[in-house]
Symmetry: C3
Subunit: 442 residues, 3 copies
């Protein structure tokens, strides 16, 4: 077996527990002294270590038995540790090395993320390489040292493999931008409608509302819109397929990108719903609310003395069902969030996953929308609702969800559904030619 040097650094403690393992590595001439000295390094570094390339002459006997390319050039084991700056990564180190010394053979690239190791107690090692021989040997060694090896295919994958630890939430950018801009818009819109209006027209200072009351209006609004935006592309895609009469054509890029960030949108929506719920629970303990309550009682006492005073039954019904819908909606929301956990979602079969994300998802959207409509109730009749001729926030936030639900309802119509199902099972209005071609050359 040829000599592969794996530059794995371990902490002293690790070394203690893995002593025998490491001893059993001797026959693979890993220089243990090096290993121990480096181990000290890792012990006291907070970030991944510096890149290091080591090379060792293979024994003449082994060079024959090594991987596909029988060249007797020097094998180089690469341990990339990704502390390069974002800007200095035009090429992967592996490819750069091969470029510098064309004759050389790089059997494997090990990507050790030492930071994660310190904090999550997992040392995942991404391994890629061309010579299966080398990979097998290194994987074995890593296993013995207690590292988990994830094979990432050939050396050509070295680039992304080495860049992986440098990326920062690439797929969260778009959803976050949408969420932030929506929040900002509604926040200022409501500040103007409530606080400024109250100050200008009725000349009273209710600026304290900004902290909690307004937040508790903005969060649910944005949350509901974000949730609707999760399910809007699905509807658009369905009608696009109906219009084209085939599923074998790509969607426009914007739709594709949108679809790929539905999960993140949903999670952000869940987070906002969570905030909305907490705000609601805090409400009764707030000073202003208690003050209003007391004022109410005192007025009650002075104006009408008829106790027990009037109990509005419809009011009770309306508010309670408003709450019930909200609670149920939030419950389903959380359920959706849980199934989007990698470990939970990964254990679901496709049908289960589809059931939850599509059926339960639309049900959640429906319930939350109903929650919003009941909140509005008959306010939209009163002229006092339209301060400065602007519609209240909850009206604006109900537009998108309603559209999504209408689209979904249309898709569920038997006639539409039948066609769509057939299309999605591969039927096309006009059979493409290469299909036939493929069939014949069988």
């Amino acid at each position: 077996m040829p000599a592969y040097v794996m530059c794995v650094r371990l902490r002293e403690s690790e070394l203690k527990t893995n002593r025998e393992n490491i001893d059993s590595l001797r026959d693979r001439n890993v220089i243990l002294t090096e290993l121990c000295r480096w181990s000290l390094r890792l012990a006291c570094c907070r970030r991944p270590l510096v890149q290091s390339v080591k090379c060792v002459q293979p024994e003449p006997s082994s060079s024959g038995s090594s991987g596909s390319s029988g060249s007797s050039s020097t094998p180089i084991g690469l341990l990339s540790e990704d502390n390069r700056s974002r800007h200095s990564r035009s090429h992967s180190t592996a490819l750069r090395v091969m470029h510098i010394q064309p004759g050389i053979r790089v059997p494997f690239v090990l990507n050790v993320n030492t930071e994660r190791y310190r904090q999550l107690w997992v040392l995942e090692v991404y391994l890629c390489g061309n010579s299966a021989e080398a990979k097998r040997a290194v994987a074995e060694m890593s296993t013995k040292l207690g590292l988990t090896v994830l094979d990432k295919g050939s050396l050509s994958a070295a680039g992304e493999l080495e860049d992986f630890p440098l990326q920062l939430f690439p797929e969260w950018r778009l959803p976050l931008r949408v969420a932030v801009s929506l929040t900002a818009f509604f926040f200022f819109y409501l500040v103007i409608r409530d606080v400024v209006y109250g100050y200008v027209e009725q000349d009273k200072d209710i600026s304290y509302r900004i902290m909690v009351s307004l937040a508790n209006k903005v969060f649910p609004i944005v949350s509901l819109i974000m949730l609707a935006l999760c399910y809007l592309p699905g509807g658009i895609a369905a009608f696009l397929q109906l219009y084209r009469g085939t599923k074998y054509r790509r969607f426009p890029d914007w739709l594709d990108r949108w679809m790929l960030c539905r999960k993140q949108m949903g999670l952000i929506a869940l987070g906002l719903a969570f905030l909305h719920v907490i705000h609601t629970f805090m409400t009764p303990t707030r000073y202003s609310v208690r003050h209003k309550l007391i004022t109410l009682v005192v007025d009650e006492m002075e104006n009408n003395k008829t106790t027990p005073f009037y109990f509005d039954n419809t009011e009770a019904w309306g508010q309670d069902s408003f709450y019930a819908l909200g609670i149920l909606g939030f419950f389903l929301y959380v359920l959706l969030g849980l199934t989007s956990l990698p470990s939970v979602g990964g254990s679901l079969s496709w049908r289960e996953f589809n059931f939850i994300q599509s059926k339960l998802g639309h049900l959640t959207l429906f319930i939350c929308t109903a929650h919003g409509y009941i909140y509005g109730w008959n306010k939209f009749l009163r002229p006092s609702t339209y301060k400065w001729y602007t519609p209240p926030g909850y009206m604006l936030c109900l537009i998108v969800p309603s559209v999504v639900l209408v689209l979904k309802a249309l898709v569920l119509l038997p006639c539409v559904d039948r066609t769509l199902t057939r299309i999605r099972q591969g039927w096309e209005r006009n059979q493409p030619t290469e299909e036939i071609g493929k069939v014949t050359n069988l």
Copy 2:
């Protein structure tokens, strides 16, 4: 190396990132043109694609080096993609193909769930096959294409492997049925006791209570019963083992099935407890509650003028400890739920898992039961509690938990515990014969 065609379809974007990987596939004569054309398909389909079987002549040189069966028949790579209806799956496709063309060799079955891929960014590929050669080659290829291969053993596993994506929560059925039926029963029971009773006897309309108040009575009741049902089979099993004097005999099927769905029962119980908690938090903001409070104050004002009026210390103690128990119980509930997450539970050692699920579980049950008892307190003395001679809901819900706790207490008795431990360590009241037989032939 023989020619295995893997019908993996990838999205354009994937192709871009994996370009070099795919180039490096050339020497395994995967027809790249095909691959790219199909990739367009996957890009615009919402559901797994149609089944497809491709076959390629192996090179004469390779047929010898291929797996166990040295037959020179045509190898067929199967990519099953599970969009068959639930009804048309009498046989696995792999076996069907082998049945159609008996001479043929099916080296592997790849099960690609493309839908999951689109949404969870994992493309898990279930691989099973008879020829190790083929499996190794395909696994390598898949890795290069960025798929994660899960080896599922021999081709005989193709059946379940292809059916997996079609199953819909098989192990959740029983617990859900129990939960739904219990909820329905208690709901109607309480509707009759509260609303109907109030309407008939006292002739007042409190139907608004159905939405929130009743829900907040039904959920905790069902939740507590479900939690108790999680731990009842354990107790039954213990006594069954004590009675039989051995652990080496199967439990009756009903008990076995019951035991296998304890996890789901617990999770449903947690869900209901969660709903109960949210309902409780919403209470003070409800119209009816505020109305009652105001009425109380107004009455207070008119009847006795002595302020500060009487503060009932025992009342405060009782209610606070009632709340404290509820909070602690819910906290442990959530803890139990967290450890039942695959990723969390999977990282626990057996002893930790046993500690949490058994010890913490029974503690939770105990606390929640105490929560229920304090709620009842001395109400059971008043005749007014038994409307129409029916016991209130909380009494009914305390039966099962009490039984479970009594069983657990019995098992914890030193004498019983000792015997049980010995039995569970393999001791039997009457040693079976094959044991001795096994010992001798060592």
Copy 3:
């Protein structure tokens, strides 16, 4: 291929589903009758089974093709099932067996945790062994039987591998001790300051507060301190590195141990914060609170008749921002907790993980500390705050967080930050010699 006996026990149902798999095992002479009989055992045992060692003569033909050691001694497949008591595990069984019969060859150790299997539907099998031949064969067999094999390297790992299921939260001990002692201290401290003080000085019995009010003071205090303790070692380490001028020296052991239990500390802090939040939500429904409210109203009525009576705007602002900060803090708290889930944290790249745990973590700490300061507000001016000349709890709990935040602020100073970054990128104030040595021999 030699004969490896794998003592895997399966449940009847498993056998039914895996029938063909097991049939396909025949050619590896696993004694199926044994397998079936044992399966009955597993079906009715609640705990891992007894240890069992079986041995089978290898066929002469295979002994040559078997792993590295070409000895024709008897191969023994070990299935350790960890029901040994904690005290009787001086050696691993594998090593013990090898010690008893020195000539013998133990090709593999299978560690089946049957309990987990019953409840989480995963049968993880830890496999370790010296002969790659044996391991491959066993791994294949296990896969066919539906077990997931985790290769744990050479036989020398058998010890820890067999002990794993016996350990009980080793890394949670220290954090839990800290949490419990802090909770106990603050509980008694507050009991004395509130209840005892009230009883002795003002001679009124407010003991009922112990249940909820005090808990709701103790939990946030301890939670905040624990959170601060998560980020304190980071600061200490930074200054230690600055002082030493190199990152290539180990930290003292106490700091190392502290750093390794940061995750657990954070999770405990989250748990306490969760309890604090629930307690807060329960507040308005409490008897004592409602009583106080009513008293307030009644007083209001009798003393000043001017309605609407005075609305304190700063009070509203202060309290609302206090709540807003608390809510935001808890939200970030939960976010941190979620990313520490193995499945979530495992899917993060290093940069993302670092961003969340370091940046978001310090932000959370800052917000929660601000929450505490606003709670205190100007109370510290009133002499009535210092009952019996003792500072209130919230003052004590603000010390550690403030220190941590100051440290962090110092580290963020440009001059300090620059030096630290250079040090962490490997720069040292005095270059060690072996570095040069390493460079030259390249």
